[in-house]
Chain length 247, copies 2
């Protein structure tokens, strides 16, 4: 907003200075009050630079998740609040998000038998190359994709779990139908990375978005591993909360 003067040849690229200006203008409420940024040409004129230079700045802020550009419409300020996904000994998707969303749903994308990849076999305590059943699912809260998961089960022990899932639309109930009354999460590893092309499509993310990846092993009451899963959460929609049962 301010007719701030950009410093050329100051060692900081013009596009970066502009990005910083726009970011702080948004933070202070000076810009984007109505949720949208002025057109690129207008910004270019205001800052006295070429439109491309403005685009470089906007591009950087898009990567940061501050802005979102839509072809033909304009450039918009992004704001979001995150759901909290609890990770506890007995972690179940809909139970965890239940109070935060009116509706939750897990959809099966694909399933079938395959030879267990190395880390899967190890996590499930199977011989390398054993047959496992893989389920690909996407979970939504109020219609918005929140996470996608790939789960593996021992094909011998859990034959037909894919059909059971289709019937019950829930991992917990599908496991129950296979005789698993209860299960607990034995270990969880969390990392963060840029969303892959597949993540972007399935979770309806924008390019450059971030996913929180959890890799977890669930074990039956006796302690035997029954499920290994890798879940990717849309990082701008979810935060994870680790809950201590005994606390």
């Amino acid at each position: 907003m301010t007719g701030a003067v950009l410093e050329r040849k100051s060692g900081v690229a013009l596009w970066r200075q502009i990005a910083d200006l726009i970011r702080s203008d948004i933070a202070s409420g000076v810009a984007g009050q109505d949720g949208r940024l002025p057109p690129e040409m207008q910004l270019a004129k205001r800052y006295g630079v070429n439109r491309h230079t403005v685009r470089a700045a906007i591009g950087a802020l898009e990567q940061e998740g501050v802005l979102r550009s839509e072809q033909g419409r304009g450039t918009f300020v992004r704001r979001r609040k995150r759901l909290t996904y609890p990770i506890r000994k007995r972690t179940r998707f809909s139970a965890g998000l239940g109070s935060q969303a009116a509706s939750t749903r897990t959809r099966l994308l694909e399933s079938g038998p395959e030879a267990a990849p190395e880390p899967v076999a190890e996590a499930l305590g199977l011989a390398a190359g054993s047959q496992v059943i893989r389920l690909e699912t996407v979970s939504e809260a109020d219609g918005v994709p929140v996470s996608r998961a790939t789960s593996w089960f021992d094909a011998q022990r859990f034959a037909g779990i894919d059909r059971a899932f289709e019937e019950h639309a829930s991992i917990t109930r599908a496991l129950a139908s296979c005789g698993v009354e209860d299960y607990v999460r034995a270990s969880t590893i969390i990392e963060a990375r840029h969303a892959s092309a597949e993540d972007i499509e399935l979770l309806r993310l924008s390019a450059g978005a971030i996913v929180l990846v959890t890799r977890a092993v669930n074990t039956a009451a006796e302690g035997r591993p029954i499920q290994y899963s890798e879940t990717r959460f849309a990082a701008d929609r979810v935060e994870l909360r680790i809950e201590n049962e005994d606390a």
Copy 2:
């Protein structure tokens, strides 16, 4: 490597097609065997596009953390393996990473009293605006910055903890010198976001990098909250592992 033909006007931008080609060539070991990519001009010629188009592709892969460009030197393939940072009831920095790094160190950047921000006061069970002491630290493993943390303590209960930290170079020992024999982590919230300018500087990250942010409350044996902290981990260097004590 292959003289793959790019499809113009296919609905997928040329720079994106090129980025996909380079990414898969690196994954398959066809490109970047020596850890470096050919010069931009050479790639432009190979793909039959303008240098800028190649730059757009490289820029995207840089954001993903696949490549790193250095002015005057070239563009290099990035490879990394992550340290595993355990989160348990008794989480302590150096103990957790000890086996994975030859040396670990936590450095105090800044400290001092301040009025507690709202979430801090709430987490510590203090009245809004109470005096707290804030510590800003950066932790390194083998000389590489791994995380930066901001910690808050009740200024009354822990007067002088900043000096104690300077002396002992450890939160655990500084707390011990204030009479806290033992403490446990009551809750942890994890989210992921793009690194801020400050994160990039202090953790020596590249633009567009990701940080894993944890917000945690530590409580003394009796259950009273004594420390609230927000830690930012360089996501390309660290993964978090949640550990169940009783498992």
